[in-house]
Point group: C2
Chain length 148, copies 2
DNA sequence: TAGCTGAGTTCGAAAATCGAACGCAAGGGA
DNA sequence: TCCCTTGCGTTCGATTTTCGAACTCAGCTA
């Protein structure tokens, strides 16, 4: 059972975990959510090797997390990488990481960027809630039942 | 700027992303949240190589996500790996992955396990909300402001 | 004394990553 | 036309990680 086999397990947690658990993938998604869209910009801001960047972008394209969109600049047609709806839906994952980072890894309350709700200016946080009673849940509030 | 340097950037998103973005780490946390606690059990259920398992456990110990807790069995003292409070706080990250996986990667609505709220039996989902007005937020509702 | 078990460690082979150079297509300017 | 630049990759040899199987070691047990 190599690492890659988790990507095809019938488990809705292990499959995303295997996909996003590849080196660079989470950092790449962070950069995308921050607005980076072009190969050169990823390479420059993350200092990832070009071959690995190519590979990770291709995996995310294949998984339909990203799409290539043509754009025009200086009369030339080029392509940029943008989130699909599936990709945009990863926002809670990134925000959960950030919420955790703010609580447990804040270096000196220095942030490299701020986030706030456009409508009211409030902060942003991830949470887990019950789909029925809307209570906020922790691991202790949840029971795990194995299938079969 | 090698991969490891993201682990020390002053950014509360890139630091967790670099930590959990190492191969096997997310899958290891999944296994831990499902109740696995011993070296042999991780090795058996994940089929990870023993040396990498040792390394990942040590990183999580160092980051204070896990702790080693002694226990007795057959009159012998051994140790098991358990989540700290910091580790338990990663629950929203895993649940965000699962919520995404359920929506976008459900193989055939087969789950390897079910989750439900102990109190009311409801389902579990991750979401992002505003700390002020409590509205549910997507990436489009949030403005990013770079520091300096 | 010898054997078993859980928890690692060691080490040579295989795979992934790195970094620097190369390839290439689409303009632009001469 | 020829040459230069740009963005976006590809290639390749060197380095780093990971793999898998064997080995170690401590604490019991027989």
């Amino acid at each position: 059972m190599p690492y890659s086999s988790f990507a095809s397990m019938p488990c809705t947690l292990s499959r995303p975990a295997a996909l996003l658990g590849e080196r660079w993938t989470l950092l790449l998604l962070r950069q995308i959510f921050l607005g980076t869209r072009r190969f050169e910009d990823f390479q420059a801001t993350m200092d990832i090797s070009r071959s690995v960047l190519t590979d990770r972008l291709n995996v995310l394209l294949q998984e339909n997390v990203l799409k290539r969109v043509p754009y025009h600049e200086d009369g030339r047609t080029r392509h940029e990488y943008r989130l699909t709806e599936k990709g945009r839906d990863l926002y809670p994952v990134l925000m959960a990481l950030r919420t955790w980072g703010e609580k447990w890894m804040a270096p000196d309350e220095e942030e490299s960027f701020h986030l706030h709700h456009r409508d009211c200016g409030g902060g942003v946080r991830a949470k887990v809630e019950c789909t029925e009673c809307a209570a906020e849940l922790t691991a202790r509030d949840v029971e795990v039942t194995a299938r079969q």
